[in-house]
Each structure stands twice: as structure tokens, then as C-alpha cells.
């Protein structure tokens, strides 16, 4: 399955990130994970939040455009080598990974957010190999 990720384009200037986060805070949108890709001129703030659709609307009201896109949140065992094994499965299918970042860690499991050049194909391969993918709502109760 796919989960929704919220992406915000922000210019690389002081205080801009804080302004975005302030909108989310005021509207009770909880951030479960984030990745900030930075270049010299701009950054892409990618967020996994508990309420993606509402988050997008609240951000728009606050003057920030954002994008909702499909990504995979993959559950893997919290043990040495499991991420490498996952990537081997994906690499063997010939699909390129656009970006990836880590997410909440439980005692037994960890989660990674992954965007591949061919998302459908990756999703199918993961299913075939018995790899579990989850949605944002599944993460809310992780402590």
C-alpha cells in the first residue's frame, strides 16, 4: 500500500522552516517523521504526518503551497542487515530509489519511507516478497 507524504518547497532563508512548523503546531498536526533535502537555494521539506489531507489544507490557509504524494512506508525488522536485504529485493527489480529516510523505531521493528522511480512496481514486489507496507494512520500509536 501507499501512504501520503506532504512536501513543502521552502526557500533557504532563516526562519522559513519554523513558520511552516508553526502552522502545523497551531492546527494540531503531528509530525511522525521528516526529511529535509537542502540545496544552496531551496529546501524540500518532506513530512509524514498523522493527518496529511488536513495538513495540506491548513498549510494552504497559512500561505504555504504543498504537494501530497504517494510513498511507501515499509516495515522492517529492527535488526542488523534488514535494510540492506530490503534494498537488495528492490535493486534486483531494476527500480531506482529517488529518496529514502528513516521513521519511528519500535522494539522489534523499524520503518523506512521510500520513493522509487516506479512506485507501482516496487509496491508489487514488496507484496510478493511478504514485506509489510503501512499507512500514516498505522504509525500514530507507535510509542
Amino acid at each position: 500500500m501507499f501512504a501520503k507524504q506532504l512536501t513543502i518547497f521552502i526557500e533557504n532563508r532563516t526562519g522559513r522552516l519554523c513558520e511552516v512548523l508553526n502552522v502545523l503546531k497551531k492546527n494540531d498536526v503531528n509530525i511522525l517523521s521528516l526529511s529535509l533535502a537542502d540545496t544552496t537555494e531551496f529546501g524540500l521539506l518532506r513530512l509524514i504526518v498523522d493527518k496529511p489531507e488536513a495538513g495540506k489544507e491548513r498549510l494552504a490557509e497559512g500561505g504555504f503551497s504543498s504537494l501530497l504524494s504517494d510513498i511507501s512506508i515499509i516495515k522492517i525488522p529492527h535488526s542488523v542487515g534488514s535494510l540492506q536485504e530490503l534494498l537488495e529485493v528492490i535493486d534486483n527489480s531494476g527500480v531506482n530509489i529517488e529518496y529514502m529516510y528513516g521513521l519511528s523505531i519500535e522494539d522489534d521493528n523499524a520503518y523506512v519511507v521510500l520513493k522509487a522511480s516506479d512506485a507501482e512496481k516496487v509496491d508489487k514486489i514488496l507484496d510478493e516478497n511478504g514485506v509489510v507496507t503501512v499507512g500514516c494512520e498505522d504509525l500514530i500509536h507507535i510509542k
Binding site: T39, E41, F42, F64, S65, S66, L67, E98
Partner: protein, 432 residues
């Protein structure tokens, strides 16, 4: 020294007489050879016979850059292409270039005018001159080249783009003069300084133009390089560099008045103002065959001085430019209109039509940054896609302006929206 004393030191009466004779001939010439002028004259009920002297020039309609664009490419030429031996072009206000054509005689007049200017700068046949304006469609390179060759100087056609080669040759050849934009010369002085070559050059004169510059810049150039720097003016529509130049007294630029009749107009009424009063400069090309222009509005702001100069020349002088009537920018010697950027961005659907041009001068070289707003509809979560977009816009802008610009993608709705006339330019250079 004076290159052509009989013309440059004529009495005002003689000059006025010569201009009258040439204007009468010109009006007949364009009336019979250029449909555009014939129609324009007919529209105001004017016949060639109505113009009997230079004082009648105000009866004639103006010509603008838009007229050149509307008649692109050769519509205003007065001769068939068999008589045209050279084409030059400069930026138009939109995508289309402003095209001009020269007959063999036009090129001779041009080389004569540039020779006068070079002589004003004290350059003679004994000099080795590096021409570091761009060679090509731009009039700077070939114009300065032909003029320098005309006086018999040793011309080194450097063109632009390789400062290291230029400084090396300046030292090795013992170059004594250079023709380039003033900002580029300041940059060259820094390169020379960094390489420890400042005391090894033989340079003594520079003839600088193609962009506005200040007295402060002149002092800086002269001090740094230990040379004399002169201001040469021109525009491709009228001819190219050599329309006017300043002498060693630096009290305005002497216009080659026997070829280019200058008028300074009140910006509102478009009627000529008194000498010394600021207004828009217009030129009538008294002797041009290829693309003669009647009362061509340059959009440059200046004033006229017809009193004799200490150098002995009697030609009218135009003051240092005080600005522009329109929004044209000159960046690294290239004419740039904000409307060109607008036209280029229209086809790029990933960005909104809002943009801001930030012009600055860093290490004496002009920089242009263009900020464009991302369109939220084309948002992406991949850095790669944004970098590709940045590159694509950079390419589009380069194609449109003939100039490299730094593109900066900004968040939607963050560029200033003005309520009246849109502000698209922030020029930090303070050139006027």
C-alpha cells in the same frame, strides 16, 4: 589631435548649413525609398518639399524601436540587399531583434566617426589597441575594429570572454590602448593586479562604452591602471559606437553632428528643449544609406551643449547620461528589456508569470539573478526535478537575452505584487 578638423571644428553656421542641406536630401531619399516614411509623412500631410532646412526637422514624425520591430527584419531599409554589405542586430523589446543594415559607404562613415573618437582619446597609428568588445551581431567589436584600423593602429581583435589571454597579450604585445566596456576594464585591472602585472603594462588609453558609467568609475579606472579613459557612445540603430565621444576635457561627448543630428526632447511634449535642459535624446541620421532614421528616439536622458570646447572642437556635446525613459537595462554591455524575460517565461508552465530581476555588480562584473515563482500545480517532491527545471529556465533565458542569468526558484506568491506599474527590476549598481 583632431582627426577631421574641417568637420569637427566647423563654425556653428557652417554646420547648420551642412545639416540643412543633408536633411533636405535625406527626406527626399526616405520619401522615395522607404514606404514606412512615405506613409508616415503622408499621414500628416507632409511632402519632401516642405522641409527646406534643419529648422524644419520638428515637422517630421518620430521613429521608435517599435517601428524597427514592426518592420522586422528589413522593412526600413532604403536600399535592396545587393547594396547592403553588413548586418548587425541588437535586442528588441520582445523576442525579435532590432536589425540594421549598412552599405559600403555607411561602413566608411562609421569607420570615420570611430576614427574621430579614437583620435579624441589620443590614439594614433603608433598604438597597439586591443578591441575587447564582443565581435558578432553586436556593433561594439567590429565597429571599434574598423575605426582603429582606419587610423592605422595595430588592432588586436580580442573579443570578450578570456581575461587571462587578454592580460597576457596586453603585457607581451605591449598594448597601449584598449576598447571595451568600463566594467570589464575594471575587472581586467583586478586580474592584472592579482597576477602582479600592473607595472608591466604599457597601456595609456582606454575607450569605453556600450554601458552607462559614472565619473567615479572613470577615476577608479584611471587611478588603478595609470591611464586616461574616454567615454564613447553609440547605438546600433543609429550606427554603433562612435556616434559621440568625450575629449581630454571630459565636458560632455562630442557628437559627430555632420552625420547624426541630435535633438533633446521634453519627455512629455516631445518638443525640443533649450540647451542645457535634460530630456530624451533623438537622432536623425543625416547621411545613412542602409537604414536611415528620422528623429529616432533613443530613450536616453541627457542635455545638449553647443558652446565651443577647449579642445577646439565646435561640435555639440551631450552630457553624461542621466538615465533612461524606458525600462531597458544594460547588463555586461547587452541591452535587456524586462519584457524579454516575461515573453520567455510565458512558455514555461512550471512557473507563474511573476518574476524579479536583480542586477548587481560583483567584482566589477554585472550579475543578473532572475527570481521566478514555482507554480503550485507543478510541485514536486524531488530535488532532481527542481534542478532540472532551474537548468531549463536558465537555458530559455539565455536564448532570449543572449546572457547567462542565475535562476532562483522561489515560493509561490512571495514576489512583490505592485498595485500600479509592476516592478520587475532591482538594479543595485547605481549607474546614473
Amino acid at each position: 589631435m583632431i582627426w577631421n578638423e574641417s568637420k569637427e571644428c566647423m563654425s556653428r553656421d557652417e554646420m547648420s548649413h551642412l545639416q540643412s542641406k543633408r536633411l533636405v536630401k535625406l527626406v527626399n531619399y526616405v520619401y522615395h525609398n522607404v514606404e514606412f516614411y512615405r506613409k508616415k509623412m503622408q499621414a500628416v500631410g507632409l511632402l519632401p518639399g516642405d522641409i527646406s532646412g534643419i529648422e524644419d526637422i520638428t515637422k517630421l514624425p518620430f521613429t521608435t524601436k517599435d517601428d524597427l520591430r514592426d518592420n522586422y527584419p528589413f522593412g526600413l531599409f532604403a536600399v535592396p540587399n545587393t547594396e547592403i554589405v553588413r548586418i548587425h542586430a541588437s535586442s528588441g523589446t520582445t523576442g525579435k531583434a532590432t536589425v540594421v543594415g549598412y552599405t559600403r559607404r555607411d561602413l566608411d562613415v562609421w569607420a570615420e566617426c570611430v576614427a574621430r573618437c579614437m583620435t579624441m582619446a589620443g590614439i594614433t597609428k603608433d598604438d597597439i589597441i586591443q578591441v575587447a568588445y564582443g565581435y558578432g551581431l553586436f556593433t561594439g567589436g567590429l565597429g571599434a575594429h574598423d575605426g582603429a584600423q582606419n587610423i592605422g593602429a595595430t588592432v588586436v581583435p580580442m573579443s570578450t570572454g578570456n581575461s587571462k589571454k587578454l592580460t597576457t597579450m596586453m603585457v607581451d604585445f605591449g598594448a597601449t590602448a584598449i576598447a571595451c566596456t568600463p566594467s570589464y576594464l575594471l575587472h581586467i585591472s583586478e586580474v592584472l593586479e592579482a597576477e602582479g602585472l600592473l607595472d608591466k603594462i604599457k597601456l595609456r588609453a582606454a575607450i569605453c562604452g556600450a554601458e552607462p558609467w559614472t565619473e567615479k568609475m572613470r577615476n577608479e579606472i584611471e587611478e588603478k591602471l595609470g591611464i586616461k579613459a574616454y567615454d564613447i557612445y553609440g547605438l546600433s540603430e543609429v550606427m554603433g559606437p562612435g556616434v559621440a565621444c568625450d575629449c581630454e576635457f571630459h565636458r560632455g561627448l562630442h557628437v559627430c553632428e555632420d552625420h547624426f543630428y541630435p535633438e533633446v526632447l521634453n519627455s512629455e511634449t516631445l518638443t525640443p528643449v533649450a540647451d542645457g535642459v535634460l530630456g530624451e535624446l533623438a537622432f536623425t541620421t543625416l547621411t545613412k544609406e542602409g537604414i536611415p532614421l528620422i528623429r529616432y528616439r533613443t530613450k536616453d536622458l541627457t542635455s545638449l551643449d553647443r558652446t565651443p570646447c577647449e579642445c577646439g572642437r565646435t561640435s555639440a556635446r551631450i552630457s553624461r547620461f542621466k538615465g533612461r525613459v524606458d525600462d531597458m537595462l544594460i547588463i555586461r554591455g547587452v541591452n535587456v528589456f524586462p519584457s524579454q524575460v516575461e515573453a520567455a517565461l510565458v512558455d514555461c508552465k512550471e512557473v507563474t508569470p511573476h518574476y524579479m530581476m536583480i542586477v548587481d555588480r560583483v567584482n566589477n562584473l554585472d550579475t543578473l539573478e532572475i527570481q521566478v515563482e514555482l507554480d503550485p500545480k507543478f510541485y514536486t517532491d524531488e530535488v532532481r526535478a527542481l534542478e532540472a527545471l532551474n537548468k531549463k529556465i536558465g537555458h530559455i533565458i539565455n536564448q532570449a537575452l543572449g546572457l547567462n542569468a542565475k535562476i532562483k526558484l522561489v515560493e509561490p506568491k512571495t514576489l512583490i505584487r505592485s498595485e500600479g506599474k509592476a516592478v520587475h527590476v532591482i538594479d543595485k549598481r547605481k549607474l546614473y
